[in-house]
């Protein structure tokens, strides 16, 4: 029999190992693999020495790169092993699956608004209206080709699979008494030490299942028809030994009987009829680097591998995989300065073994190992386990592709944009002056900002030089050759510059821990015109704001949001969603303000005052009476409470400006704050707070100057010198004319309070002035003031 079928599970390390052994034994003349036939040309490049998995075979219509389809390969993928085996032995490899050129041409329902390729769930969830867009985990492991899980694929999975065909593994696992189908396969196949007869057994099992539950899905019937057609052609070419590597589900309909057309539904004529007259689109294929994290379910279109790191580990350390896994985990913990002694490792291994025994497993699986690590090494704390999950179970592995790989869609998109925006890449450094009111300049600016978000620093943004207008942007452009590599790396984020930048910025935001970081990203996303990223970023801001304990972060993050809410911006960013978030943040600020302002030292109070200023500014922008009222109440509480004197003084001032504090109260507060019983430094800080900002408001507050004056004159010489620098600083911010007017005021004040009749004359108990004696000094006074002496009227 020339045809040898190897039904595998995509990305199963056990399958991969068994497949290699089987190929070594069989020594086939040709290997026929499941995989789109139109990728045949670039397939050979997979054998290139510089190709380091995880990588993905990428097929896309050149004019519509966002509809790309990915076929990821990892070190432990059976297909990858077959590919490498073939390359090493010089055995040709043929792809037999239905070409994507035909599949992409199939009418895809409502995929025009295809969600961007996102490496993380929030964006996928936010951008994708279809709730069923996540791949069905139970279906991900068998039949479908290696990883045809581009979003539109998911979509049609979701649509035409509503009565999803029977999950063959589920049937078998349930028959074997397992509830967890994944676990069943793991135990039965992947962890099996002796692989003899494995493929025959899989084949038998699948045949039984398919007899019970025949394939009904048109798309898969079409694919299988194509596979058979290719196999028939290969057989005709007269190869002696043919190895066929395909998903286990397909194996039963690809055997000799099926090829001879003797299996029901597999007649040659039927296959012809199915494949006839299909529409076709042009596709381009290439390789791109892939990451482990994008193989998981987490990425929204994973290839059905939950723990690529674990599979990779299984692949590399066959012997004592459990012990090595725990040891690696312990080393990782030690790296992070967490205790993980060798003795604990031993105990963890023992516990994992005991758990496996209790669960009647051959050897501990990932679940047992995780539980043992949690109980022994992490002392029940989930946080270090999460670290192990991220770093080991998923892993941070990034693949590599050779330099001469055909251009990725992202690069094509970029060159298309460069052409249409008339921005030629040049290695010469040259300036670019943009006026973002013009459409083309706006698009250019957005492109440069997007590239910046992708760490492709073609242009550096410079401050707008002499011009202060907001619509001018000054850039320095310099194309560096290494940017080409950067583009390939960035292509994991998406296939167009816009999608990739959005995906990247969202990913960064999900990793960010502090609110100002995310509002910074939001600012950049707005500049880059990434409308799709704004909502997810706002969501992230909201959730960080909810748990953030640092009220100052909230306060500092508020202003850019308020600006966005008030003005939208010149760049026509949709900003309707911003206001509720701003309101929520403000409510939290108001609630937490009292605590945040308690027990501050001078420096912290200074910073807090600046943050308070920003909030006030934001409120002025928003112009909402209810918020304004809350804010005033909060400031009043702050002013009356025990906050730092600087803040209390500042609150007084703001309330005065807003007309929420009348002159009498200001006078009363000033007297209290500047009373001699207070430490002079505190009084000085209060005064400094009151004097922040414009001086005009205070100029006409008669009482305040009186209090100032009294306070200053009552200071002892020593404390006066001490407080002098502080006061000097407080007054230094006023403009010259303001200072002069204040001086006038004080001069007038001093005459008024010492000898002026305005107040003292009315006060009881003051002796009436002896006019005769006063008149005696008038000539001298006139001399001093330089005014002519009026002759005595009497």
């Amino acid at each position: 029999m020339p045809l040898h079928l190897f039904g595998i599970r995509h990305h199963g390390p056990g399958c991969a190992r068994s497949l290699r052994a089987a190929l070594d034994e069989l020594q086939p003349d040709i290997i026929v693999m499941e995989g789109p036939a139109d990728a045949q040309e670039v397939l050979a490049q997979g054998a290139h020495a510089q190709m380091i998995p995880p990588v993905a075979l990428l097929l896309y219509p050149p004019d519509e790169p966002r509809r790309a389809v990915y076929y990821p390969f990892t070190r432990f993928s059976p297909e990858w092993q077959a590919l490498r085996w073939g390359a090493a032995k010089g055995v040709p490899i043929r792809l037999m699956d239905l070409p994507q050129s035909l599949r992409l041409a199939q009418p895809t329902p409502a995929t025009t608004g295809t969600p961007p390729l996102s490496p993380n769930p929030p964006e996928a969830a936010a951008a994708n209206p279809a709730p069923a867009a996540q791949p069905d985990p139970t279906s991900a492991e068998d039949g479908p080709p290696p990883a045809d899980r581009a979003p539109d694929e998911d979509f049609d999975h979701a649509v035409d699979n509503l009565p999803w065909r029977v999950d063959p593994l589920a049937q078998l696992a349930e028959a074997a008494g397992y509830r967890d189908h994944e676990l069943w396969w793991e135990q039965q196949i992947e962890q099996r030490a002796n692989a003899t007869g494995l493929f025959a057994a899989i084949f038998e099992a699948m045949r039984t299942v398919r007899d019970e539950f025949p394939e009904t899905l048109d798309r898969d019937l079409l694919r299988e028809a194509h596979m058979r057609t290719v196999l028939r052609a290969v057989r005709k070419q007269g190869y002696a030994t043919i190895a066929v590597v395909c998903g286990a589900w397909h194996a039963p309909v690809l055997d000799e009987t099926a090829l001879d057309g003797k299996r029901p539904g597999c007649k040659v004529s039927e296959d012809h009829a199915r494949l006839k007259g299909l529409a076709k689109v042009k596709t381009t294929a290439t390789w791109i680097p892939w990451t482990h994290s994008r193989l998981t379910y987490r990425s929204g279109y994973g290839a059905g591998v939950q723990s690529p790191g674990w599979y990779d580990h299984l692949w590399t350390s066959r012997e004592s995989a459990a012990t090595r896994w725990i040891t690696t985990a312990a080393r990782l913990l030690r790296e992070r300065e967490l205790d993980a002694s060798a003795a604990s490792v031993i105990e963890a291994v023992r516990l994992a073994d005991a758990l496996a025994a209790m669960r009647e497993l051959r050897s501990p699986g990932l679940a047992e190992l995780n539980e043992a690590i949690l109980a022994v090494l992490c002392h029940g704390q989930p946080a270090p386990l999460q670290l192990i999950h991220d770093r080991l179970e998923v892993g941070d592995v990034l693949g590599q592709v050779p330099e001469d790989t055909p251009a990725v869609p992202l690069a094509q998109d970029l060159s298309r944009l460069q052409k249409s925006l008339r921005l030629k890449p040049s290695t010469m450094s040259q300036p670019l002056d943009l006026d973002v009111r013009k459409e083309i300049d706006l698009a250019r600016s957005q492109l440069l900002h997007r590239l910046g978000l992708l760490r492709l620093d073609w242009g550096t943004h410079r401050s707008s030089g002499g011009r202060t207008s907001t619509f001018h942007e000054l850039w320095q452009l310099e194309w560096k050759p290494e940017l080409a590599v950067g583009i390939i790396e960035a292509s994991v984020w998406g296939n167009t510059v816009e999608l990739a930048a959005a995906a990247r910025v969202i990913d960064e935001a999900t990793r960010a821990e502090a609110l100002p970081e995310v509002s910074g990203l939001l600012h950049r996303a707005v500049l880059a015109g990434l409308a799709g990223a704004v909502d997810p970023l706002l969501t992230q801001i909201q959730s960080l704001a909810a748990v953030g304990t640092d009220v100052r972060h909230l306060m500092d993050g508020l202003l850019p949001l308020a600006q966005l809410a008030r003005y939208g911006d010149v760049r026509q960013t949709p900003a309707g969603h911003v206001e509720p978030i701003v309101v929520g943040m403000l409510e939290r600020i108001v609630v937490g303000l009292g605590t945040a302002c308690a027990a501050l030292d001078d420096e912290a109070a200074q910073r807090m005052q600046e943050s308070l200023g920003r909030v006030s500014q934001s409120l002025d922008l928003l112009n909402r009476d209810d918020l304004e009222r809350d804010w005033r109440q909060a400031l009043r509480r702050l002013m009356e409470g025990g906050a730092h004197a600087l803040l209390r003084g500042w609150c007084c001032r703001v309330l005065l400006e807003k007309g929420a504090l009348d002159a009498d109260e200001l006078y009363r507060r000033a007297r209290l704050a500047l009373s001699v019983v207070n430490p002079p430094a505190e009084s000085a800080a209060w005064a400094a707070g009151l004097l922040k900002g414009s001086g005009l408001v205070l100029l006409h507050q008669e009482g305040i100057w009186e209090v100032f004056d009294r306070w200053l004159s009552e200071l002892s010489a020593e404390t006066f010198v001490e407080t002098l620098p502080l006061l000097r600083r407080a007054f230094a911010d006023f403009t010259g004319p303001e200072r002069r007017q204040m001086g006038e005021r004080v001069r007038h004040l001093s005459t008024a309070s010492t000898g002026g009749p305005s107040r003292s004359a009315t006060a009881p108990g003051v002796e009436p002035i002896d006019l005769a004696r006063a008149r005696v000094v008038l000539p001298v006074l006139a001399q001093v003031l330089g005014v002519p002496v009026t002759p005595d009227p009497s």
Partner: protein, 376 residues
Amino acid sequence: MAKKTPATAPATSADSPLQSKLRQHAEQEFAAELEALAAQDDRQKPPGWNLSPWAVKTYLLGGRLADGFEVSPKYVGNGKLVEIAVATLATDRALLLYGVPGTAKSWVSEHLAAAISGNSTLLVQGTAGTDEASLRYGWNYARLLAEGPSTKALVPSPMMLAMESGQIARIEELTRIPSDVQDTLITILSEKTLPIPELNQETQATRGFNVIATANNRDKGINELSSALLRRFNTVVLPPPDTLEDEVAIVSRRSEQMGRALELPCEKPALEEIRRVVTIFRELRNGLTEDGKTKVKSPSGTLSTAEAISVIAGGMALSAYYGDGQLKAGDLVSGMVGAIVKDPVQDQVVWQEYLQTIVKERDDWKDWYRAGRSAS
């Protein structure tokens, strides 16, 4: 060895009716189940164990035996945790049950000891005043003076008895025990021996001996375990109930029972109010709203299921004595604030934020919002 009844185990003779006791030990209350399990247990038992690990698991999680005997579930929750606990004990490692108050730690520990050793009474209650004698041995001073140091003058601790008889010793609230006393455990756990220098003897642990300790991670003023000691335990964290429905069911059943026990002239609490109380508790505890969309701050208190029950019970009493007998938001909210605001500054912020950002937005929660505003 394991079958030997230790001296401290209470006599369970026929003439002291168990029914008059307020509470029975696990091995007495569930004697029939343990017997049925033992009778059908044909699997391998670790040395010194009464039951095999599989039977112990069935005892805790409940199930139907081959002959149709129904074993009631003792622990409702993640079965994997029980598996880890049993596997830990089977590998001779000490077990530390860790978690917030009110998550059935002591309950699980008692039942594990009952199932494994048939005796859950070898118990050391950890307090700030627990001394070495409660973990090692004390002396009968009259004898000591009369006869000098001898085995007869020695008063063994539950720990020592457990070592001699090869049973499970339990330590409650391990973190309340002063650190220097905790250190006593290190030798016991690693060398499995208890030296008695006064007699130049030692007590070596019989197979089957092990230690289950419980500790909670919320209290302040506790003595954190040294890493040397922590290393000798496998830690299993018992979490609060998984789903809203589970918790609502537990709370409504228990609060109904409490209402009956207190003979409150009040109507059965409305499921809707219970659901809201549990929702508030869960959302604040998890720091996330039930729809998973909005994050909220968590207060410093535990907000355990047990506290939710007492809030409902308190509300029932309030409405029965001072209200119209119908459980309303106003009756519940004061108890609620008391449960949530443990730290007058930080928690107040948390509660206010929650009221303003979550409760206010929910249309059918207006009464709670009003009650919450007026209560604070």
